[in-house]
């Protein structure tokens, strides 16, 4: 893997000799334009391709850098090269401000995010054209000297763009193969599930946007002097974002080099048509290519090639560690360490008057509940009684509207979900939510990296392999989740929850929809999980499993706790039977009273 950055640097060094060949100046300019689009498309991809937040505001950040550079050169007579860091910085700050506002609002995803960032472009353009920065006439840079980096000015621009492209590709590569990148890809597939396994989604998106904007701003700074005369009408448009989207989608957005491939292809294509005096045909051809790419290669060129390559040479599986409990990390907390943390009489999780309302519907109405160290606690109750809401609040999926939640003596109530996951609580979803573009192995490795705190992806994979063996999924390690049946998906959910090395596991109806034989497997598995030292809370309707597994049950009804104690005893209580079955006499009365109205 580490060969890639060396290859990028070596290629850049080799290409740096092109101006020495003495080619006509227009080649330098063509190469400059190709590299310019490589920087813009690749930088766009860092946020938008990796995390799936398609920004149409790349023109705004590119333009911010361009105008920063132009203004500093024309008005304050800064030397050109010094304006580039300033351009990158300002674009970055602008991106962070926009991101800090936009990413705070849940629900701004997909098309809404695209339009919002597009609107930012027009607002910024309007502001610039109406203020002395531009003044409506554009900024001329004719008087600014081009530094003599290359033998000619056009060679200088080429070398600058080459440096920028190499830097951008290195950054894009580094992110793609790091833990940061894994988190971004997880956000792309399922942001809520990513947060719940411990990905700090807000910070990651903001950081990706900041990096993306800084690189675009740098490209803008270089382009200002290349254009020599800048106007708002040509910069703050929909064309810049749409072009980079086109390039990235064509090349492949889930690969660090995809946008670069697309940028080279599209720029050459457009240039070819323009040079042959068929600019119009070129424009139409780009449209045709985009349509064909969307219809026939929605993943892009590069992933297509990779898939073909992978079929010829399957990737090797990491070895299965002998002991899946503590495969590598000596720092992993042991049961003994946990018991001291929860010193207050063996209580691991304590809920006091915990409440959650949805616009006046009280799903949890003041729940008092204790989960004890090392037990298997079953949560029972009729549909809508608040069991799943309780799990959602404890895991941080919902924020409680009142009450307190303490885990190992630590206040948990207003913590974001990823902090809760890192603090030792993991959950499964009733309907499995695997990351669709990750292999089964990488789904689990993600949880190891984020919830479990294993930094390196290779170590995480090795450890994840252990959890796949634990849940019996090792043969499916390289399959995509879509290839699994429901039973296997549920076990994948379990493996993912366990991989974070939680002290408390919340299982939301893991048995629902399984066959009796599969239920037996799952019951044995839950026992093994507890034997590892984890405490288990599970919501379940399958009474056979509840009776077999639980040390205690808590019965929910109408958002509150109705009863708690050993399962066999609690289920005999009249109020519990009433909650489940209703009172026969009451029901008869009600039917009699309603009768005439319905007759």
């Amino acid at each position: 893997m580490k060969k890639t950055p060396l290859a990028i640097i070596a290629a850049a060094l080799a290409l740096a000799f092109v101006p020495q060949l003495g080619l006509p100046a227009f080649y330098d300019s063509l190469l400059y334009l190709i590299l310019h689009w490589v920087v813009l498309a690749t930088s766009w991809n860092i946020l938008s391709g990796y995390s799936g937040y398609f920004s149409f505001g790349h023109g705004a950040f590119f333009g911010a850098g361009l105008y920063t550079s132009a203004t500093l050169m024309a008005r304050y007579e800064w030397p050109f090269l010094w304006t580039l860091p300033a351009a990158a910085l300002l674009a970055c700050v602008l991106g962070l401000v926009v991101g800090a506002i936009v990413f705070r609002v849940k629900g701004i995803r997909g098309e809404v995010f695209a339009l919002l960032t597009l609107a930012v472009t027009f607002v910024l353009g309007t502001l610039i054209v109406n203020t002395p920065v531009d003044g409506g006439n554009g900024v001329s840079l004719a008087a600014v000297a081009v530094p003599a980096i290359g033998p000619t000015p056009s060679a200088t621009f080429y070398l600058l763009a080459l440096g920028a492209a190499a830097l951008t590709l290195l950054v894009a590569w580094w992110i793609a193969q790091s833990r940061f990148g894994a988190g971004l890809f997880a956000i792309h597939d399922d942001e809520d599930a990513a947060e719940v396994i411990g990905v700090p989604t807000y910070r990651y998106k903001l950081a990706a946007l900041g990096i993306s904007c800084a690189l675009a701003g740098m490209a803008g700074g270089i382009h200002a002097l290349f254009l020599n005369y800048v106007t708002v009408g040509e910069v703050f448009t929909i064309t810049v974002p749409l072009t980079v989207v086109l390039m990235s989608v064509l090349g492949g957005t889930r690969h660090w080099a995809g946008p670069a491939v697309g940028a080279v292809a599209i720029t050459l294509l457009l240039y070819g048509f323009t040079a042959a005096d068929h600019a119009l045909a070129g424009k139409a051809m780009v449209g045709v290519i985009l349509i064909a790419a969307i219809l026939f290669m929605p993943d892009g060129i590069l992933p297509r090639l990779q898939k073909a390559w992978a079929r010829r040479r399957p990737a090797p599986l990491p070895p299965v560690p002998l002991d899946p409990v503590a495969p590598t990390a000596p720092t992993a907390p042991t049961v003994a360490a946990m018991t001291t943390a929860a010193a207050d009489g063996g209580v691991l999780l304590q809920a006091e008057r915990l409440a959650k309302s949805f616009r006046g519907v009280r799903a949890l109405a003041g729940v008092d509940l204790q989960v004890r160290q090392g037990e298997i606690l079953g949560l029972l109750g009729p549909n809508g009684s608040g069991k799943s809401t309780f799990i959602n609040v404890v895991s941080g999926h919902y924020v409680a509207s009142g009450g307190q939640l303490r885990f190992e003596g630590r206040e948990l109530t207003a913590e974001p979900a990823h902090r809760i996951a890192r603090g030792g609580i993991a959950r499964t979803y009733q309907i499995p939510r695997p990351f669709a573009h990750f292999t089964v192995l990488d789904n689990v490795a993600l949880a190891t990296m984020f919830g479990g705190g294993v930094a390196s992806p290779e170590a995480a994979r090795r450890e994840a392999m252990g959890w796949l063996a634990f849940t019996g999924l090792q043969d499916k390690a390289l399959a995509l989740p879509e290839a699994l049946n429901l039973h296997q998906r549920k076990f994948l959910e379990l493996a993912r929850a366990l991989a974070a090395r939680p002290r408390l596991v919340l299982l939301d109806e893991v048995l629902c929809g399984l066959t009796p034989a599969e239920i037996d497997d799952a019951v044995a598995l839950v026992r093994r999980i507890r034997d590892q030292g984890a405490t288990v809370v599970f919501v379940e309707h399958v009474m056979r499993a509840v009776m077999a597994l639980t040390d205690r049950v808590v019965v929910f009804d109408q958002g509150g706790v109705l009863a708690a104690g050993p399962a066999a005893e609690v289920m005999q209580r009249p109020e519990v039977m009433q909650a489940y079955l209703g009172t026969v006499a009451l029901a008869a009365d009600a039917a009699a009273a309603m009768g005439p109205a319905h007759a």
């Binding site: 398609f54 506002i101 936009v102 609002v105 849940k106 629900g107 701004i108 997909g110 098309e111 809404v112 695209a114 339009l115 919002l116 597009l118 609107a119 930012v120 027009f122 607002v123 353009g125 309007t126 502001l127 054209v129 109406n130 203020t131 409506g136 448009t237 929909i238 064309t239 749409l242 989207v245 086109l246 989608v249 119009l280 045909a281 424009k283 139409a284 780009v286 449209g287 045709v288 290519i289 985009l290 349509i291 969307i294 219809l295 929605p298």
Partner: protein
């Protein structure tokens, strides 16, 4: 940048009026876009290219002596077929909303190149007898092309609203948008309905195009000039609602016109896009 001066009452009233007129065109352009996005889950960027293609066809027919409004009889069915065909393609490949945006952007580029190849990149203006008529109401001028646009926008929006609200077809369309599987279980013929709706959306784009030709100078690059503000109107109104784009369009048109009257024309885009950003931040659910 001109200073902050308060214009006279007549000028202000004339501004509001011109805002209403341009807002009606925003609404008419946005109507098909909103229906397609809200009810078919397809974001048709080519809507604007279709409108301009229709405008150029109307222009071409008028040079042959065909009345612009009469040309609707030819243009509307043609674009209905075009829209239905495009939808058939996108449905065949089960395109996601985001990919529909990209695909129709590609189509926009093709249509733009086609227009430029046939009619060149120069500005074209339809000359008709409509342009010479203008009514006077007190001190205010009411140009006929703009009145036609307003009448068409209001009439068509109301018609679509009535169809969606009162007919079985409208109910079926709304049900399909909310839950396709359940709607199918109730016997809704979704494919036929979707084709019908997609065709109607393109036909609406064509009508808007004829209005464009009546009131504005045409150039291929102008296709992109309308996208931002019409999207703002669509999002402001909420998706898949028939009257909302018109109301939102007029709100935007009037606030733009007032901004222009009070400050300078170059400030106008700030209004619509600030409105859009505000709405998206405060009510992101509107577009979900």
């Amino acid at each position: 940048m001109s200073g902050f001066t308060l214009p006279s009452a007549t000028l202000l009233a004339q501004s509001v009026l011109s805002g209403v007129f341009v807002g009606a065109l925003y609404g008419l352009l946005g109507l098909g876009l909103s229906l397609s996005w809200g009810l078919l889950r397809l974001i048709n960027l080519a809507h604007f290219a279709f409108a301009f293609l229709a405008a150029y066809l109307c222009y071409q027919l008028s040079t042959k002596g065909v009345d612009p409004l009469l040309s609707l009889a030819l243009i509307v069915p043609a674009f209905f077929a075009l829209g239905a065909a495009l939808h058939a393609l996108m449905a065949r490949f089960a395109i996601t909303p985001f990919n529909s945006l990209l695909l129709t952007f590609g189509l926009t580029g093709i249509v733009e190149a086609l227009i430029q190849a046939i009619w060149t990149a120069d500005f074209r203006k339809l000359e008709s007898s409509y342009g010479e008529h203008r009514f006077k109401l007190g001190a205010l001028y009411l140009p006929l092309p703009e009145l036609i646009t307003l009448a068409l926008a209001v009439g068509l929006s109301l018609a679509v609203w009535a169809v969606l609200r009162y007919t079985d077809l409208g109910k079926a369309l709304r049900a399909s948008a909310e839950d396709p599987a359940v709607a199918a279980a109730f016997g809704v013929r979704q494919q036929r309905n979707a084709l019908l709706l997609a065709g109607t959306c393109s036909a609406l784009a064509a009508v808007a195009g004829v209005c464009l030709a009546l009131g504005y100078t045409l150039a291929p690059s102008q296709i992109y000039a309308w996208i931002g503000v019409v999207f703002a109107a669509v999002m402001l109104g909420g998706l898949g609602r028939a009257l909302a784009p018109l109301v939102a369009g007029i709100v935007i048109g009037v606030s733009e016109a007032l901004t222009m009257a009070v400050t300078a024309p170059s400030w106008a885009p700030l209004v619509s896009f600030t409105l859009l950003i505000g709405i998206l931040l405060l009510r992101p659910g509107r577009a979900a």
